[in-house]
Symmetry: C2
Subunit: 405 residues, 2 copies
């Protein structure tokens, strides 16, 4: 955590990955984040992975360092409390992150009557507001038909990473700061909508894939081959798998030298009339001719020998490993680094949790903070932000409009 | 494009996806972005997809709306010009986005001698600064061993989406605005580093996967099944594939009703002693018992009939389609919407290009702007930002220190 956004206060009513991770990113750069949940927890309170006792590792990962307020949002008095928290005064408050529908009491039009300069950042599924999740957006966009080898026939292969959720969360955090900057300069608040499907579609447009499909048709399955340059998985003599990539000319020449393939590659270039170092695309066009050379060369070496050669020639590569192997044994992915802090979490487990993925070099990184217990900060937030008296907070508890951890 | 960050000026020396997309996001919310490239183009100038003539659709997708300056960066005079552009004065200037190594003339220590409040946002591969790309980070993190079905044995299945690049670009844009906000308030500039590998590792931590692997071991391959709730691809009577998801209780009950599976599901619940609506995780635990019911029910219906039922019950689903089918025929992914603008691009092709994925509702969306030709703005930027005279700019051209389109 870095004290970069100190003073900024964000209120979150959200669930799952995209909107909660948006607020998490803001929190991990120093903003205060008040997360409002229904009493008993929202839709994501039990989302897997869970402990054997059913506590969600997902929930406690996505809500680290937030203040938790539990309110009965089905009752008018509870809803008004939530609205009061969202629209509380202060030049660095009035920022609301949500994935609730635009209709209803959390709609921007209603909220901004109470605070006209409110910034609402709303993550949507489809751009028309209909629900979508990462898996349904990805299915609609065609990536599962590009993933895996030709042996999959017309069966889709789903990604296991909720990539669009994660990307949307980061992009929404960016949009939040942009809108807040605009408000600081103009006084103008507004609603910002960030549809998962638009983030996905725009991303494919930004990387040229929409221009490609419009002008050249659908990209077929290329298995594990990197599109448009040299790259694939190869098996070593001791049966490990390595991902090897050469996009730039220097990466290519380093790789060819490391494997002592210069004569064989030169012969192939002469036969084909191409120059692989100068044109990365030719390495992709002729990959079926190139791959066997690399299969033999890599397959003749055990991993340790290959590593030595690759490191000597600055080859762009990595061994494939499981996540367990990665976090246990790969110094580049160590959990001991300042990025991680070992914390006691609400689940009862103690494990390393990540802070902000960026490092701000003029500020000291502060340790990550665990997630709250549900409702842990109900009383404190109602007293601090809404100036409610202990007697009033007691009444709200008695009426079961709020709950504490 | 939205005029939200108007006035902010960003200088970019970068290639590939992460850092250039960071600057693109800033540009699409209204910042001025000056991209400095070597004369003849950088390492990504020919990256695929390309037109039949070899023009990069990727490059022109990632550099939309930027001003292009071409400088010979191998010569001291060219390097000084780049440094002068990066460190040019102005309260809303002095923001630098790069993926160049920390050593050398683009290092923050050297640059900040010329402008002490410079904000440098540097995308790294591994956290120690060693090069990495999406494919090598992903291989090291284990996701290819979780992707696809058990039939893949111990062969990895690579993702085709450069998810970590895209996520890092969005997160770096967020980090840029955070650092710029901090500078506005304190006067303090700084270097911000954003390693691809830390973005990836932190993301897996935020979603509970690191806690999971540390406490429960590696997650096996689950094929196309959604982890921890109900979800998978199914085949319709007319041989279309659909992705069907039920995470919340309401999604589950809607799905069961839509397929008239209530009696069969109730019988299974009684036999197993579980309540699927109340506990999404049980739907995953017992997926092999549940899937055949859904295979039969969905397999008995053609897509049109299924669609009707799913829409009537607000089921969370999507048909699988190719990207070509998506952009040609799916209104939720239409390229006609305000998100896209049909433009003439430097490749000579005319096609719809996306603007900002977020919509700012108090501001009118302005059309997207095409990428520049390489060096298109060299003269204008040198005159405007560095106040160089036409004679001086002419000398730089004569000495081949700069080039124009």
């Amino acid at each position: 955590m870095f004290p970069i956004l100190s003073g900024l206060r964000v209120v979150e009513c959200a669930s799952f990955i995209a909107a909660p991770s948006c607020a998490l990113h803001l929190r991990q750069l120093g903003a205060e984040v008040i997360r409002i949940d229904p009493v008993g927890g929202g839709m994501d309170f039990g989302r897997w992975p869970v402990t054997p006792q059913g506590d969600s590792l997902y929930w406690e990962g996505l809500n680290k360092g937030k203040r938790s307020v539990a309110i009965d949002l089905s009752r008018p008095e509870g809803r008004q409390l939530a609205v009061d928290l969202i629209t509380a005064p202060g030049p660095d408050a009035g920022v609301f992150v949500t994935n609730h529908p635009q209709k209803g009491f959390l709609g921007h039009a209603a909220l901004s009557r109470q605070r006209p300069d409110l910034v609402t950042v709303r993550v949507l599924g489809w751009r028309d507001g209909a629900p979508a999740v990462d898996y349904t957006v990805n299915a609609a966009l065609g990536l599962p038909y590009m993933t895996g080898g030709a042996g999959n026939g017309d069966d889709p292969v789903n990604h296991v990473l909720p990539a669009w959720d994660l990307m949307t969360g980061a992009y929404a955090a960016f949009a939040t700061l942009a809108a807040e900057r605009h408000r600081q300069r103009t006084g103008q608040g507004q609603e910002v909508t960030v549809p998962l499907s638009d983030v996905a579609l725009a991303s494919l447009g930004h990387t040229g894939q929409i221009a490609e499909v419009l002008s050249q048709g659908d990209r077929p399955r290329y298995g594990n081959a990197l599109f448009g340059a040299f790259g694939r998985n190869f098996r070593t003599a001791d049966d490990r798998q390595v991902m090897v990539v050469a996009i730039t000319g220097r990466q290519w020449s380093g790789l060819v030298q490391a494997l002592e393939l210069a004569p064989a590659v030169a012969a192939l270039e002469a036969a084909l009339g191409v120059a692989f170092e100068a044109d990365e695309g030719q390495r992709f066009v002729h990959r079926e001719a190139l791959f066997p050379l690399f299969e033999r060369a890599i397959g003749a070496l055990p991993l340790a020998a290959l590593r030595q050669r690759f490191e000597a020639h600055a080859v762009l590569w990595s061994v494939y490993q499981t996540l367990g192997q990665a976090v246990a044994g790969d110094p580049r992915l160590s959990l001991d680094e300042p990025l991680f802090s070992t914390l006691q979490h609400p689940s009862g487990l103690r494990y390393p949790a990540p802070g902000a993925a960026a490092s701000f070099h003029a500020s000291a990184r502060q340790p990550a903070v665990p997630a709250p217990r549900l409702g842990e900060h109900t009383d404190a937030v109602l007293a601090e932000v809404l100036s409610l008296s202990p007697a009033r907070i007691g009444q709200l508890h008695d009426a079961k409009i709020v709950a504490s951890a």
